[in-house]
């Protein structure tokens, strides 16, 4: 069947902010879908609240709405778009299957509310009945039984008693899965009645329909997933089989997974394939990709269906990267009527997409967890996903791919330096935790048998045997002196996947120098990796797409070209502080430089991303971002230009801290780094030298120093005065950064919190209380500087910039202060010889005389987290411009008018607010207080013609609903008291009641002329403010901080507020914005803006 010509316009719904369970994979799938639909000539409309995505780039859709993913806003967009469509006669369709669970739920919601019918919008990709049948556990179970497939015994319950009764019948342990939640949120395993009561209560609360499934436990069974595609002609194909290394019981997003399945006989695999196809047909997914999960009893092969997702998923992104088969792209084409045999396979070009990929390598995915960021969180892995990202690696064998994936994780710990405790061995093998893989190796080092480890972990002995072989090989290394190692022996080690670093560790060769020695030894023995292609067909047909991986094998089949080329290093696994924003920048660099005639080469190991789509760059190397692997790519590519003499360069400033940490060593190894040089990056990080530079430039910074011992740190604290901000050097996302109010806290930090060394001291800075913080992104070509945006934080000082909402333009900073910030920015960018992007953070402190003092907090000569947000607000693709600057082009050439004007990049008449999104619901019991260590996983943007409305939209998009009535709690510092009166008046006008702490109440009373209720501070007595929050007697908290005195009050208030889902506002600027936002909501004002219209007339960017 050919393309549907009756459809004219298609709305694609994205997945919103990055949260645990929904990450960059939906940017990848959404981007692919938008591209495919546009190519087909449809008018594509996109809505997504997440500005850090490639899919929200204005080129990818005809109209792009960065708006909250709520029924109201999407209805407004549908209304606008249906109206525009009005005159013509084409149909309006909605594709809900590429935006994760968020898009699917929203589509169901829109449909149930009659909105789709009202505007004549047709769901394509998955029909409503199919979605409901797949998502509703009872309907799903019935469907499976109808087609003769087994499912675990289960029952849906909506109260505790029914749950307990059913568990009594089937016996413990039981699984609890709340209905309609993301990434298994709120699920768990209960081994007894108490646990069941606790988990079930939470699950019922989290489920939007107040319902949970209690299920027979298949703990320890083997877990598999099949990625299935179906077209309107009922052709069904399996794209990939995935086998979980972790047995049932651990969410598949938290499991190490391997493709293809390794331990199934053909008979078992084909039965599973038949079942997956039957599921697809029975559920009624007419077109597109789905994922079906199975459990298999290793003792007798009994197979049960666990679940199916009638949409593209994290696993389908993985399967796409693992096979080279672009599931989302094909799914989009199937949704508009094509059949699989009508679509060509991109990679072979000669054969159709209607086939089943076969692969001649092994793919391993390992999740990336960040429990270190959430002290107190339970790091046991279970049915609720807790990882924030993942890495994938390709090797010719499981051993090679596992070891590549392992080193790609960037745990920050030195190889071989994990703390493994013998006494905890059994427990750590039995209980799934992030360190389990390390403990498995440890068990083999200690001589434990495969049988024993398999018994304890429930893992398949085949996988364990592979790890044992690696371990034994590794243990042998130290027995041979480096000089005595033969070429064959070295090759054997490398074929096992052992990194240069692991080999160095075995030989006790220290640090970077040791790794270098091993590398040189290895190269001297002529043991070097070759590169092979991912081609969907195991070499049966010629492949046209250079999607490459390294392996220690014989033949290199992907010789480099002799063209001028740029290698872009990606950002590795998604994590807090280094997320999709950096992938966005890397993709943009590839797009821009491709346009400029360079061959673009991407290196990355994150399967979720757009950067690892083979369509993004000219050549894709799916490799760990560690020195060994990156250097191998460089050497391979450099061979190509050795004769032609064509230019080759590497970009390290777009992938966040990961490539920056390699930059010095890459340069030392002879790699031409383009853009800002590693020396400048070092200078900005080196406390002493940077301090000297600031002195020379006469730019103030908070007093501080560096410490490599407890005493040194305390001495600095004494000298500069408390509170102090302490943090390790060279980190991203404020890792292990804290504000210490006294010497005791500093001493504790130095003793317990961080590792430091002469090379990497701890930084101790005076903390500027009650300051306003700003972020600046700027472009520089070493001669000229353009300020892209000055973002005012609308959270109190001391909260990590990534966790703070911020606004463009700055709303309450004096023009002369902004001018100071601009002056400092220019001076610093030029002094650091920045070529590309630079991000600076400033704090503005107002003194007793009302004079502003601007301090530099930090300078990062690289692309920042805010680049996509600022790009979307200004309409100028900053990363593209920056990439071009790195190749020697100039601002004069690229942005002549903006440069000549001397102004910041314009944003028109609108306000753009960025707000963070937090993973609290995944980590029960974790402290929700914000501080200098970043905790948010993603962000959203709100745009409107007033600051208030933009703020309200951003809050809404982040899942934080501002109240429209009720009581506002006020507690402000002296500095803010004058402004608080006006603010309180505004809230009263809006119909709110006010309660305040005693001091604030007195000021408000004097100012307003009438009484406000007072409430105790936490330490003053009861009922205090926290009691009121818990009793739902407060709907909004406005609490501006006053330093140490109220530090504990603030923490307690915030904890209670997060739990009760009440917004907490910590600055006057934000409180004013919230008031205006509330006013907008009260007016029932729902405005939606397409990016293309916002920037239409204003922005001219030169390519």
């Amino acid at each position: 069947m050919p393309r549907r010509n009756d459809i004219q316009k298609i709305l694609v719904i994205g997945s919103g902010p990055i949260v645990i369970g929904q990450s960059a994979e939906f940017d990848y799938s959404g981007t692919q879908a938008c591209k495919a639909l546009k190519q087909e000539g449809y008018e594509v409309v996109l809505v997504n609240s997440n500005p850090a995505t490639i899919m929200t780039d204005p080129e990818l859709a005809d109209r792009t709405y960065i708006e909250p993913l709520t029924r109201e806003y999407v209805e407004e967009i549908i209304r606008i778009e249906a109206e525009m469509l009005g005159a013509s006669h084409g149909k309006f369709a909605l594709l809900p299957t590429v935006g994760g669970q968020t898009a699917l739920n929203l589509a169901v919601d829109l449909s149930d509310a009659g909105i789709l019918d009202r505007y004549g919008v047709e769901l394509i990709g998955a029909k409503l009945e199919a979605i409901k049948k797949a998502e509703d556990r009872l309907l799903f179970k019935d469907a499976m039984l109808r087609i003769g497939l087994e499912v675990s015994k289960s029952a849906l319950v909506n109260n505790l008693r029914d749950g307990l009764d059913f568990a009594g019948k089937i016996g413990f342990p039981v699984l609890i899965r709340p209905s309609f939640t993301l990434g298994g949120s709120g699920g768990g395993i209960a081994y007894n009645r108490e646990e069941l009561m606790e988990i079930l209560a939470r699950g019922l609360d989290l489920s939007p329909v107040h319902e949970c499934l209690i299920e027979e436990s298949v703990l320890g069974w083997k877990e598999y997933e099949l990625e299935v595609m179906r077209d309107l002609a009922d052709n069904v194909i399996i794209i990939c089989s995935i086998e979980n290394f972790d047995p049932m019981g651990v969410h598949t997003g938290d499991s190490i997974t391997v493709a293809p399945a390794q331990t199934l006989t053909d008979r078992e695999y084909q039965r599973m394939r038949d079942a997956a196809i039957a599921v697809m047909r029975e559920i009624g997914v007419e077109t597109g990709g789905s994922n079906v999960q199975f459990a298999v009893n290793p003792a007798n092969g009994r197979m049960t269906v666990i679940e199916m997702n009638p949409r593209v998923s994290r696993s389908s992104a993985l399967a796409s990267k693992a096979t080279g088969f672009p599931i989302a792209k094909i799914a989009a084409k199937l949704a508009v009527g094509y059949t699989l045999d009508e679509i060509p396979n991109d990679i072979t070009r000669k054969t159709p997409a209607c086939f089943e990929p076969t692969i001649d390598y092994v793919v391993t995915k390992i999740p990336k967890w960040q429990f270190e960021k959430f002290p107190g969180a339970d790091d046991t892995l279970g049915p609720q996903m807790k990882s924030v990202g993942e890495v994938m690696a390709i090797g010719r064998t499981f051993k090679e791919s596992l070891m590549k994936a392992w080193r790609a994780l960037e745990t920050g710990k030195k190889t071989g330096a994990e703390v493994l405790e013998r006494r905890r061995l059994t427990q750590m093998l039995v209980t799934p935790k992030p360190e389990r893989l390390g403990y498995i190796r440890f068990a083999f080092e200690l001589g434990m048998s495969v049988r024993e480890v398999a018994r304890l972990t429930g893992m398949d002995p085949w996988f364990l045997h592979q790890i044992r072989e690696i371990t034994l090989e590794q243990q042998k290394i130290a027995k041979t002196a480096p000089a005595a190692l033969t070429s064959e022996a070295m090759r054997r080690l490398k074929r096992m996947g052992l990194s240069d670093e692991r080999i160095a560790t075995e030989w006790k060769l220290q640090g970077h120098e040791g790794v270098k020695q091993v590398r040189e030894l290895r190269e001297g023995l002529d043991v070097k990796p070759v590169f092979k292609l991912v081609d969907t067909c195991a070499a049966e047909f010629e492949s046209m797409t250079p999607y490459l991986y390294s392996t220690y094998d014989e033949e290199d089949e992907a010789p480099a070209t002799d063209k001028k080329k740029i290698i872009i290093l990606g950002s590795g696994p998604n994590r807090i502080g280094q997320g999709i924003e950096f992938d966005y920048c890397c993709c943009h660099a590839a797009f821009a430089l491709k346009d400029d005639g360079y061959e673009t080469i991407m290196v990355n190991c994150n399967p979720e991303t757009v950067s690892t789509d083979y369509d993004t760059s000219d050549r894709l190397y799916f490799e760990p971002l560690v020195l060994e692997d990156v250097l191998a790519v460089y050497q391979h590519e450099a061979q190509g230009v050795a004769e032609s003499g064509a230019k080759i360069g590497m970009i390290v400033q777009f992938g966040g801290q990961t490539p920056l940490n390699l930059s010095g060593r890459l340069k030392a190894a002879g790699v031409p780094i383009i853009g800002t040089q590693p020396e400048s990056i070092d200078l900005a990080e080196d406390r002493k030298r940077f301090g000297k530079l600031l002195e020379e430039l006469v730019i103030p910074q908070p007093a501080g120093g560096t410490a490599t011992s407890v005493d040194e740190a305390l001495a600095i604290g004494e000298r500069i005065g408390y509170p102090v901000l302490v943090r390790p050097s060279y980190v991203l996302g404020g890792r292990a950064m804290v504000i210490a109010y006294d010497a005791e806290a500093v001493a504790k930090y130095m003793r317990e919190a961080v590792e430091y060394s002469q090379e990497r001291p701890v930084l101790v800075d005076h903390f500027l209380e009650s300051a306003v913080e700003v972020d600046v992104d700027a472009l520089c070509d070493s001669k000229d500087v353009i300020i892209a945006g000055i973002m005012q934080h609308i959270e109190e000082a001391g909260i990590h910039s990534g966790d703070s909402s911020c606004v463009l333009p700055a709303v309450s900073i004096r023009e002369e202060t902004l001018e100071t910030i601009r002056r400092y920015t220019r001076k610093l960018a030029l002094a650091l010889k920045v070529v590309g992007l630079v991000n600076l953070q400033f704090a503005i402190q107002r003194d007793g005389e009302g004079k502003d003092h601007v301090y530099v907090i930090e300078v990062n000569p690289r692309a920042s987290r805010t680049v996509p947000y600022v790009s979307k607000a200004t309409g100028v693709p900053l990363a593209k411009v920056a990439a071009r600057l790195m190749t020697g082009r100039t601002l004069r050439e690229l942005l002549p008018e903006e440069l000549a004007s001397g102004k910041d990049l314009g944003i028109g008449d609108y306000y753009y607010v960025k707000s963070p999104v937090f993973p609290w619901s995944k980590f029960a019991g974790v402290d929700t207080v914000l501080g200098p260590e970043m905790k948010s996983t993603g962000e959203v943007m709100g745009v409107a013609s007033s600051f208030g409305e933009a703020f309200a939209k951003a809050q809404l998009a982040a899942g934080q609903v501002l109240p429209t009535s009720g009581t506002v709690f006020f507690s402000v510092n002296d500095h803010d008291k004058a402004a608080a009166v006006e603010l309180a008046r505004r809230y009263v006008e809006l119909g709110f009641k006010i309660v305040a702490t005693e001091g604030t109440a007195a000021v408000l009373k004097a100012g307003l002329g009438f009484d406000v209720d007072t409430v105790f501070k936490v330490k003053e007595g009861r009922p205090n403010v926290v009691d009121l929050i818990k009793g739902e007697r407060i709907q909004l908290v406005i609490n501006t901080p006053r330093g140490q005195d109220t530090f504990f009050d603030e923490k307690a208030i915030r904890r209670a507020a997060v739990l009760a889902r009440i917004p907490t506002i910590t600055t006057i600027a934000a409180a004013q914005a919230a008031a205006e936002g509330i006013a907008a909501i009260q007016r029932k004002q729902t405005t939606a803006y397409a990016l293309q219209n916002l920037h239409e007339e204003r922005v001219v960017v030169r390519g």
């Binding site: 399996i238 331990t263 078992e268 086939f355 089943e356």
Partner: protein, 377 residues
């Protein structure tokens, strides 16, 4: 144990030997199936061939009696990237390495199988020798060149059963009750005579599950003898080698056409093509795998199918007035199935019995049953 592969064009691969220590020779072909190495090894169609598997991890789930497609492996040798020293599966009865040793199949591992596959893809299938006994590559290349070529060789009668035997649901090889196999149909029993040119056991199981009692006959059995057995239908099996020299079978098919329903698979299909006056030709590197898209021209639907053929019927050579071309491979447009327009005869080039491979084409056995029922009236 060191082992070496020498190809007739002089290309050498050095690796590790497993299984049977010694030497083997044959035509080197590659198979892209991800699962089913045991079924592949025991498929008689591979007689005279050394098989390279593109899946790099082989041996993981061991071997078992049930997955044998014949009493023993028919491949001459096996080439893999990594050969598992252990087996892990509840069905496994013997570690793959021991199994190969027991049946004297040499295994070459730890070579760059992808490089070998690319070589075969570019230069076509070629003869080769695996040896664990010598490192004299030149001598092995000479040996490879001396191997008798597959073209023009009748291997069907070599691998065929020497005596007639019967197969029905009482046969242990029927594997009654295995939940991994498809369910049997109810209904009156039909009698099928199956020509064994190298028949796979799953074909017998599939026929059995369609309610057929099967009489398996040697390749050289005449049409008269078969018709004398009063079959409801005749099945022509898969098998190794070039179809052209198998003239006795072509003659037999001509003798049966129109007198009894005929269903052919693989070599059986090629023989039907020849019997209908067509030509066969050799493919550059053949089709061997479990992921080939085949379009059913009648329904327009695509089946994912298991393939194992080096030869194919030239569609140009078939009389379109008499014969309908029913199936085509979407990868390279090879003819994959045909059906006589007026006589009860159809055949497919691929393997609807799979084993290993997808079950999308199981319906063809049902079609055969229907054809027999209709013929019977």
């Amino acid at each position: 144990m060191q082992a070496i592969l020498a190809l007739e064009d002089g290309r050498i691969f050095k690796g590790q030997g497993y299984g049977h220590p010694g030497e083997c020779s044959g035509e080197v072909v590659f198979n892209t199936s991800l699962t089913g190495y045991q079924e592949i090894a025991t498929d008689p169609s591979y007689a005279g061939q050394i098989v390279v598997l593109t899946n790099p991890q082989i041996g993981n789930y061991g071997t078992n009696q049930a997955d044998n497609e014949a009493a023993k492996p028919f491949i001459e040798g096996l080439i893999v990237r990594e050969f598992s020293a252990v087996s892990s599966n509840w069905r496994s009865e013997q570690v793959t390495d021991e199994y190969m040793e027991r049946f004297q199949v040499p295994v070459l591992a730890e070579i760059d199988t992808r490089a070998l596959v690319r070589h075969l893809r570019t230069h076509g299938v070629m003869r080769g020798v695996i040896s664990t006994q010598t490192t004299d590559a030149d001598a092995l290349v000479k040996k490879a060149r001396a191997i008798r070529k597959m073209d023009g060789t009748d291997l069907a009668k070599v691998v065929s059963t020497k005596a007639v035997y019967h197969f029905d649901e009482g046969d242990p090889r029927y594997q009654a009750g295995d939940p991994l196999l498809s369910k049997a149909v109810d209904g009156p029993k039909l009698h099928v005579v199956a020509y064994d040119f190298g028949i796979k056991q799953n074909i017998l199981r599939m026929l059995g599950r369609e309610g057929c009692k099967v009489t398996v006959v040697p390749a050289e059995t005449s049409a008269e003898d078969v018709l004398g057995m009063k079959p409801d239908g005749v099945f022509l099996s898969n098998g190794p080698g070039d179809p052209e020299p198998v003239e006795y079978a072509v003659k037999a098919i001509r003798g049966m056409m129109g007198k009894v329903p005929v269903f052919g698979i693989c070599l059986g299909h090629q023989l039907c093509g020849l019997a209908l006056g067509g030509r066969t030709y050799k493919l550059k590197f053949g089709h061997h795998g479990g992921n080939h898209p085949v379009k059913n021209n009648a329904t327009g639907k695509v089946e994912i199918t298991a393939h194992n053929h080096n030869f194919a019927v030239d569609p140009e050579s078939i009389n379109a007035n008499e014969v309908e071309l029913t199936h085509v491979d979407l990868n390279d447009n090879t003819l994959e199935g045909l059906r006589h327009k007026s006589l009860p005869l159809f055949s497919v080039q691929y393997h609807p019995e799979a084993a290993p491979g997808p079950h999308d084409s199981h319906y063809l056995f049902r079609d055969f049953r229907k054809m027999m029922e209709e013929w019977k009236g």
